[in-house]
């Protein structure tokens, strides 16, 4: 009982810090010429520590990776996005990244907060290592698409400044078009590879748990749709050079589908991805 309260408390703390980080992140966009203060980053790190603790507590309590209901899934999704965000933040030191990612994190977390926080047990049929591998691949893949969405939005904004020849303060603070485009591409490659592996491991796991590989359950269908969309994005980029603005727009559309597949299906229907 006490542990449930602890994980709820940790979640609320994480949510609060992400909320403040989202606010400061958005405020940075309008701060004029002043360079980023780094406040957003430290708020995000603090929230992330509480968030990680929350996931660990739930893992211990439930005995499996906490992704078996909407609350957990959305929360774990944001956690994966943050892992990728911190990697990019420290690896590339891109300006303004947090201003675009933290609002996404906050929206995911607040949607998570609307669902029941009870810790559920996992159907023993599903409880295997394939489960862990499958969900981690799937969630990290979706997280890469979420990051590509944020970077794509940054690209579109920066490209509008350069194209319209109106160079505001934000133009100076945003990264260059080329680096945004390259990172966007790399994220889509990463997301696509992880999604492919997730589908493959999902097929193997389904076979070992239920004895059938593929049943056209809505989640499976939409995963396939997502996979096809990103396959198309990559194909167009490599063959006809759909880069830059077009790639950015596609990564935004792609993520809209990811989000629909993530929340929409889970709320509308019940397939064998019962928890989602």
């Amino acid at each position: 009982m006490l542990q449930i309260e602890i994980n709820v408390l940790l979640f609320e703390l994480a949510l609060t810090f992400y909320f403040i980080a989202a606010i400061t992140g958005i405020a940075e966009l309008f701060r004029g010429k002043k360079a980023s203060s780094g406040a957003t980053r430290y708020l995000a790190i603090t929230g992330f520590l509480f968030h990680t603790a929350n996931i660990i507590v739930r893992y211990i309590e439930g005995g499996h990776i906490p992704v078996t209901d909407m609350h957990e899934a959305a929360s774990f999704f944001s956690w994966c996005v943050l892992v990728l965000f911190f990697y990019h933040e420290f690896r590339y030191k891109m300006g303004m990244l947090s201003s675009f990612v933290m609002p996404i994190i906050f929206v995911l977390m607040i949607s998570s907060a609307f669902f029941s926080r009870e810790i559920t047990t996992l159907d023993p049929v599903l409880d295997s290592h394939w489960f862990e591998i499958h969900v981690i691949l799937a969630f990290m893949g979706d997280a890469a698409f979420a990051m590509a969405f944020g970077i794509g939005a940054m690209y579109l904004l920066q490209e509008r400044y350069v194209k319209s020849r109106r160079l505001g303060d934000l133009f100076r603070k945003l990264p260059s078009l080329q680096s945004l485009d390259e990172i966007n591409f790399r994220l889509i490659v990463l997301g696509f590879s992880l999604l492919s592996l997730a589908i493959i491991t999902g097929i193997i796991w389904a076979h070992s748990a239920w004895g059938s590989y593929w049943r056209w359950d809505p989640k499976e269908v939409w995963s396939l749709v997502t996979w096809l969309i990103y396959a198309l994005v990559l194909h167009l980029r490599v063959t006809v050079g759909w880069r830059g603005k077009k790639a950015a727009v596609l990564s935004i559309i792609g993520f809209a589908i990811v989000i629909f597949a993530f929340f929409g299906i889970g709320l509308l229907q019940k397939g064998r991805h019962v928890f989602l």
Partner: protein
Amino acid sequence: MNILVIGLNHKTAALDVREKVAFDGDRLDEAMNMLKNSGVVRENIILSTCNRVEIYAAVNDIGPGVESIKNFLSSFHNVPPEFLDKSLYVYTGADAVRHLYRVASSLDSMVVGEPQILGQLKDAFEAALSNRSTGVLLNKLMRKAVSTAKRIRTETKIAESAVSISFAAVELAKKIFDDLSAKSFMLIGAGEMAELAARHLITNGVKKVFVTNRTPARAEELAAEFHGRAVPFEDFIRELLHTDIIICSTGAPHYILKKEQLQRIMKERRQKPVFIIDISVPRNIDPRINDLDNVYLYDIDNLQGIIETNLNERAKEAEKAEKIVEEEIDSFLKWKESLSAAPTIVALRNRAEEIRKAELEKVLRKLGPMEEDRIKSIEYLTVSIVNKIIHPPTAALKADDEDKEQMLDIVQKLFNLKIESNNNDKR
């Protein structure tokens, strides 16, 4: 002693005046020596750049000082005094300090915020130092001017944004391409502005350079200058396949690159971005080209517009800088005030008196109860020792000596005297 500056700059004098009074580097020592030997000018620094000629000096009396420097200028450069009178400005005291600080932080420059002037000022100061034509006053003043300029550079954004065509071009290129060293560049045509921008791109890392021109010989010439390759003018469009940045400046009366042509090229280069700067008037690049994806076209007016916005921003930052200048002037003037004799002598006396009293008390405590007479005579002894020691330095400080400032400075340092108003100096 008084500080003054006499000089002229781009605002007060046209180029034909400035070039007549500019100091040749070889004759700088000679000039400073002449001033030094005038008997009126005690310290001097000559700052001579293409936009300004200024003499900073420390003199005993302002009137004769100004006259002597003006005479020196006209005799040294062999121009009649009336020729200079219209252009020369004279600032003294706080105004002179303000002027120097504003010059150092480039608030007085033609392009506010340009970085060269501080270096030129430092060079002038170095030259004066090695010539020994400065003293305690100008040394302090110059160091404060440099630190003020640095403070302004870090605390305001006065030198941040691009205010010339070539800087604006590079700033944009970096926001499109990030790392310029992997990019190629083509110069179409020639012209001062285009070549300057080309040179600036190269110093910012661009390595692969193509040059094309209607006159093949001119193309070869420029290619050699930029360590690039000359491309026949008829073929330049083909070469755009491998070009990321284009600067165009030809005298052609029509478009030399049309939208459809570039569209084909873009397809072939798989939409790799292209940044085009068209500084020709009339324009040489079809303006509709900007509608193409991954193509960014800027003409002369677009760049001019950016520069104007940036200049306005600098003007705003300059207001902040002026406030910093005023603060720093105060701090310098306080230091200078402390260099007058009276407070130094008072401080010296107080210091000696403090020591005397403390030591006397210690001794009396050690000796125990004693007759009043004896205490009186011990006290008398201490007073007279202190007075004897202090008398000669006091007398020297009171005398109107040549090196009075220097002496005051030294005395303050030797006796570790804290003069009341000498506290704002951070150094």
